[in-house]
């Protein structure tokens, strides 16, 4: 496919278009993703999660600059919610990352959550693969909010950065257990607000029992540009840890397992949606209603005979 060749040559326009194909569930996306897949797996993928308003975008903006100074090509996939009422979205993350303007070593893509049939995480990481194939070294994935699905996305990265801002001791105690388990790096942003020290030591204390990699707690002020170098160093250090036998392969397998499972579900869902329009399906419905069969047994039979789309 031409678009694949272009992406592999580093053509940003083609990369932009391919991500759109993925987002639109375009028929050609599956084939294109298959063609780029052997060329992926090189980039270091870093997920960012944390409640709205903690300054994730501003932090990423600072990190882009820092890693550009270190001569790494940087990509961002920023996910914002789609309005459930209109299906539209205003995607404003770019604005906080816009001071890298026309730097050829930066690629930022805003995605709306939409209603992806295979799940949002799958679409997000397909976009990540496109950036990987484009030759980006370091890819940041940012999701809005701190719900289960956002945490799920961030934790599929090689390195998961959990961003918080200074809070009272009680609030720290009340942090969701999930948040304390998934992070590889913890950031207390907005140190300019004060109270960051106690927040950081509280967090540090709570992370004490982690086995293996001991997540560092980094204090930053995206506003003042403080702590950015330390955060960048921590991200690199985690990368070296993973690569040095500390679990790169395991992270890749975890994600591959989830993606395989989700791809199967998605395929089934697609096949199934065709099937539900058929006469045979309605006949089975009728049989269930008159108690000739039951839904669970009928489902088994239907799936056994199901033809997958090509």
């Amino acid at each position: 496919m031409k678009i694949v060749e272009q992406v592999l040559k580093g053509d940003k326009r083609a990369a932009g278009k391919l991500i759109s194909m993925i987002e639109d569930d375009d028929a050609g996306a599956t084939e294109a993703l298959a063609a780029i897949y052997p060329h992926t797996g090189k980039a270091h993928v870093v997920g960012f999660t944390g409640p709205p308003g903690v300054g994730k975008s501003s932090l990423i903006n600072r990190l882009i600059r820092e890693f550009r100074v270190r001569d790494r090509k940087v990509g961002v996939v920023a996910v914002d919610p789609t309005s459930p009422f209109t299906g539209g979205a205003v995607l404003g993350d770019r604005i906080r990352m816009s001071d890298t303007g026309t730097d050829p070593g930066v690629f930022i893509r805003s995605m709306a959550t939409r209603g992806h049939s295979g799940g949002l995480a799958l679409a997000t990481f397909d976009a990540v693969k496109v950036l990987d194939a484009l030759g980006i070294d370091l890819i940041f994935v940012e999701t809005v909010g701190a719900g289960q699905s956002e945490i799920d996305i961030a934790s599929r990265a090689h390195t998961t950065v959990v961003v918080q801002m200074p809070q009272s001791g009680d609030a720290v105690q009340a942090l969701k257990a999930g948040i304390l388990e998934i992070g590889d790096i913890y950031v207390v942003n907005k140190t300019d607000l004060g109270g960051a020290d106690s927040m950081a030591s509280n967090l540090d204390f709570m992370l004490e029992e982690r086995q293996g990699w001991r997540p560092p707690v980094v204090q930053t002020s995206a506003l003042e540009g403080k702590g950015i170098k330390e955060l960048a160093d921590a991200i690199n250090k985690h990368y070296r840890y993973l690569k040095g036998g500390g679990g790169w392969r395991r992270r890749e397998s975890d994600r591959a397992r989830k993606e395989l499972y989700e791809s199967m579900k998605r395929l089934l869902a697609e096949a199934y949606s065709d099937e539900t329009e058929g006469v045979a399906f309605e006949e089975v419905v009728g049989a269930i209603v008159v108690r000739k069969t039951d839904p669970r047994s009928a489902a088994k039979t239907l799936l056994r005979d199901l033809k997958l789309p090509k």
Partner: protein
């Protein structure tokens, strides 16, 4: 305050009216709409009576003109003593073009000058910088150096006329140029009268023309307070502006509340600097919008005066009554002008100007009918000025003080807007104050929500805009174009290049270095900025030094 038995009698009478006269009337002729609202979508009742003012004591809430709380006006005689200043905002192209426009306006009876500066100047860039591309002189005059300032006021008696300059982020630099020009012409600073807008907070909230983050910006503002108090005592060192908040889409109450909250923030910063409140507060001035809804606007101005006086006296402890006065300039609503049937804008502007006058404004700008297209042409400006002159000399509205004082509707609306402003003060306080609320995007979000609602109302025809969504005609709008010439641009660039060649490089470098040190430390920057412009440093050069020391502001954008 009406006595309880009087109110009871009125209530009884009203109930009877509702059951008889009103009911019969509604039966024959129902009202045209289910509910009536102001331009800001605030509900308007059918009839206002003393019942609506229950609990409010006019001796306290209204008082008398020229006395606390100044609801009825800041002067005892208002326009019987002196009319408001007719001050037309003007500026385009080069300093020569605008100087010509100033003289034209003075010849036609204008009584104060108001300088509109172009976009690069507002952002602290020189005309020939790459950031300025395409922006020279299009919506104001370019002032890149002291030499431009000299040309701008050539032949104008700056010792006699008062000059307002709409400049914010680089306000201290432009003011320094004005002061240096006066110095060169031998006009003492103590005799200079005028205003610099210098209101950076509303830039972050609404107009979005900024250079530095809030804290260094506020420091520069307080530097001008301090410097002005000592050296230019008749100058208004700030014009705390609701105008742009409103233009960006706010409601009247939001304009009122955000502007006053900003005002209090400046006062706090002045006090924190160690200035005595009664030294600087009398030089704080205000600037409000005059929008379509006559009574809502009038109530807004009256509420503003009352809140300011009370807070200055009771919360901030100002002793000098001059510190309690909310003196304000007003401008008719640019955003209300239509590109369709533009001549009709003359009528809109007249009604809006009437609101400002009935609301007790100290000075007024009336928009020109062609401003939905361009910076106004001469003829359009003259009609706008004539509109004010008709209000002043023919309409009779200036003959008595606060003619609407005591009107049930206006007083009830004033009370309500006052209360709603205090609700906003509480919300801002809960967010940690004005600057944290800016960082959280609070004002920006509130304004954008109101702007969208207003537009939807027009779209859904809940709100009629004559010539736009009703009473439409299909004919091209005829407006005589005003163009900034290529010659003006070239003249300006040549002047800048000549200046850079002719000035004393040693003196120039020394002044900029001293300024850098001052910015890095905590000295008052004004004397250093003055030295820099005296050494013919350009606006862009001075601002570059400050940008390097202070950093630049990035907007927190929320949807």
């Amino acid at each position: 305050m009406s006595r309880p038995e009087e109110l009871e009698a009125i209530e009884k009478r009203l109930r009877r009216w509702e059951e008889t006269t009103l009911r019969d009337s509604l039966k024959k002729q129902p009202e045209s709409r289910e509910s009536f609202v102001t331009t800001s979508s605030a509900p308007v009742g059918r009839l206002y009576t003393p019942i609506d003012l229950r609990g409010s004591d006019p001796a306290e809430t209204l008082g008398v003109p020229g006395e606390f709380p100044y609801t009825r006006g800041i002067h005892p005689t208002m326009y019987r003593g002196r009319l408001w200043t007719m001050r037309m905002f003007a500026g385009f192209g080069s300093a020569e073009d605008t100087n010509r426009r100033f003289r034209y306006l003075i010849d036609h009876g204008e009584t104060g000058l108001s300088v509109a500066l172009d976009m690069p100047t507002l952002y602290g860039y020189d005309t020939d910088e790459v950031e300025a591309k395409g922006e020279f002189g299009t919506c104001g005059v370019a002032v890149s150096s002291l030499r431009d300032m000299e040309v701008l006021f050539h032949g104008i008696d700056i010792g006699a006329v008062s000059t307002s300059m709409t400049i914010n982020s680089p306000a201290s630099v432009i003011w320094a140029m004005y002061l240096a020009n006066a110095e060169k012409r031998g006009v003492p600073w103590t005799g200079l009268r005028g205003t610099i807008q210098n209101d950076i907070l509303k830039e972050y909230q609404a107009q979005k023309e900024w250079m530095f983050p809030p804290e260094p910006s506020m420091r520069l503002v307080v530097d001008t307070f301090e410097f002005g108090t000592e050296h230019v005592p008749q100058w208004n060192t700030i014009s705390i502006s609701g105008y742009h908040i409103r233009e960006a889409g706010s409601t009247a109450v939001q304009e009122l509340a955000f502007t006053l909250a900003n005002g209090f923030e400046y006062v706090r910063w002045g006090i924190d600097r160690g200035l005595a409140i009664d030294d600087f507060a009398p030089r704080l001035s205000f600037f409000f919008n005059a929008h379509n809804d006559l009574f809502e606007e009038i109530a807004k101005y009256r509420a503003a005066r009352r809140i300011w006086a009370r807070e200055m006296r009771d919360t901030f402890g100002a002793k000098n009554p001059r510190s309690w006065l909310l003196r304000f300039h007003s401008q008719t609503a640019g955003v209300s002008l239509t590109a369709q049937q533009p001549e009709v804008n003359i009528v809109r502007t007249a009604v809006q100007a009437l609101a400002a006058v009935l609301g007790g404004t100290q000075s007024l700008h009336t928009n020109s009918y062609d401003e939905a297209f361009q910076v106004p042409n001469e003829k359009a400006v003259r009609i706008a000025l004539r509109t004010q002159q008709i209000l002043a000399h023919e309409s009779g509205v200036a003959n008595t003080v606060d003619p609407l004082g005591g009107a049930y509707y206006v007083e009830a609306l004033t009370d309500r807007m006052e209360k709603e402003a205090y609700d906003y003060f509480d919300r801002i306080q809960a967010l940690g104050g004005v600057i944290p609320a800016i960082r959280k995007g609070f004002f920006q979000q509130e304004i954008a929500n109101s702007a969208y609602r207003y537009q939807k109302e027009i779209e859904d025809k809940e709100r009629t805009i004559v010539g736009v969504n009703d009473f439409v005609v299909d004919e091209p709008s005829e407006v005589e174009p005003l163009r900034v010439t290529k010659e003006a641009f070239e003249r300006q660039v040549r002047r800048l290049q000549r200046l850079r060649k002719e000035r004393n490089p040693k003196k120039h470098a020394k002044a900029l270095n001293a300024l850098r040190k001052a910015c890095e430390g905590d000295a008052n920057t004004m004397p250093f900025i003055l030295d820099a412009v005296r050494a013919e440093a350009t606006l862009g050069e001075v601002c570059d030094v400050m940008r390097e020391v202070f950093g630049v502001w990035e907007e927190p954008l929320l949807y």
